[in-house]
């Protein structure tokens, strides 16, 4: 039983049926990433090519570790939502569903692997 009128349910939602929620979420993560990514590129670029002990020492320090965790969590959420948008533009039906599931699975797995690595190096 629906207590809302059809008009009330539709208003403010637009053609996407979900309003501006997706766009706003992308804006939030984009601004967060805009502040973090330059430092992260520097941290990662410096660590890459070093020997194992240096790499472990780098990522056990608070700043590189917390920064990497934030970039991974927020970056992968930004990716999952953006890639879903691309899938929705080009794929339909079952192919669309499977692609979206794949996108969310791979981004969640990357976050899990990254966080596990950071925790293990920190302790």
């Amino acid at each position: 039983m629906r207590y809302l009128t059809a008009r009330k349910r539709a208003i403010g939602k637009g053609a996407s049926h979900s309003g501006t929620e997706h766009h706003w979420s992308m804006t939030l993560s984009a601004v967060a990433l805009a502040f973090m990514v330059p430092s992260w590129v520097y941290v990662f670029g410096h660590a890459l090519g070093q020997d194992l002990d240096t790499v472990r020492a780098t990522f056990s320090r608070p700043f590189p570790a917390i920064l990497t965790a934030l970039v991974l969590v927020i970056g992968m959420r930004h990716f999952a939502k953006g890639a879903t948008m691309m899938v929705e533009d080009y794929a339909h039906g079952t192919a669309r569903k499977m692609s979206i599931i794949f996108v969310y699975s791979i981004s969640t797995m990357i976050v899990a692997c990254g966080l596990y690595a950071l925790v293990r190096m920190a302790i």
């Binding site: 670029g45 890459l48 990522f59 890639a83």
Partner: protein
């Protein structure tokens, strides 16, 4: 009788006949770079996971990450991240209601392309 003579109707513009424009190219590049970055991120996280796991795992991942393949992926990712970064800032600027006239939008598009190349070179020099 049905009329068999073909009428020269106007054709609606589609990708193959539409003149390529800066705004369209900068838009699709944003999507391509954003999605392609998953490759660089996956390689980076594998390398990080290997560093946390064992010296053997690290030597394998580090070998790949610093090989010509790793260099290709990370250099490409550096350009992709900077292009996507600048294009994202441009979108935030657009969202605020600025820069939407054709001339400014095209200039901003070129700004993203040239800026991203410069930032990539800067990244390679610094790190």
């Amino acid at each position: 009788m049905a009329e068999v003579k073909r009428v020269a109707r106007p054709l609606s513009p589609h990708l193959q006949i539409y003149r390529v424009q800066m705004t369209a190219v900068s838009s699709i590049l944003t999507r391509i770079t954003g999605n392609a970055l998953i490759v660089g991120v996956a390689l980076a996280v594998w390398w990080l996971l290997a560093a946390a796991t064992s010296p053997e795992a690290f030597s394998t991942a580090n070998w790949v990450a610093t090989s010509w393949f790793g260099d290709l992926v990370f250099t490409g990712s550096a350009w992709a991240v900077w292009y996507h970064y600048l294009a994202g800032l441009r979108h935030l600027y657009f969202d605020a209601g600025h820069g939407l006239d054709i001339k400014t939008a095209e200039r901003l598009g070129w700004g993203c392309v040239i800026g991203s190349v410069l930032l990539t070179i800067l990244t390679i020099v610094i790190v």
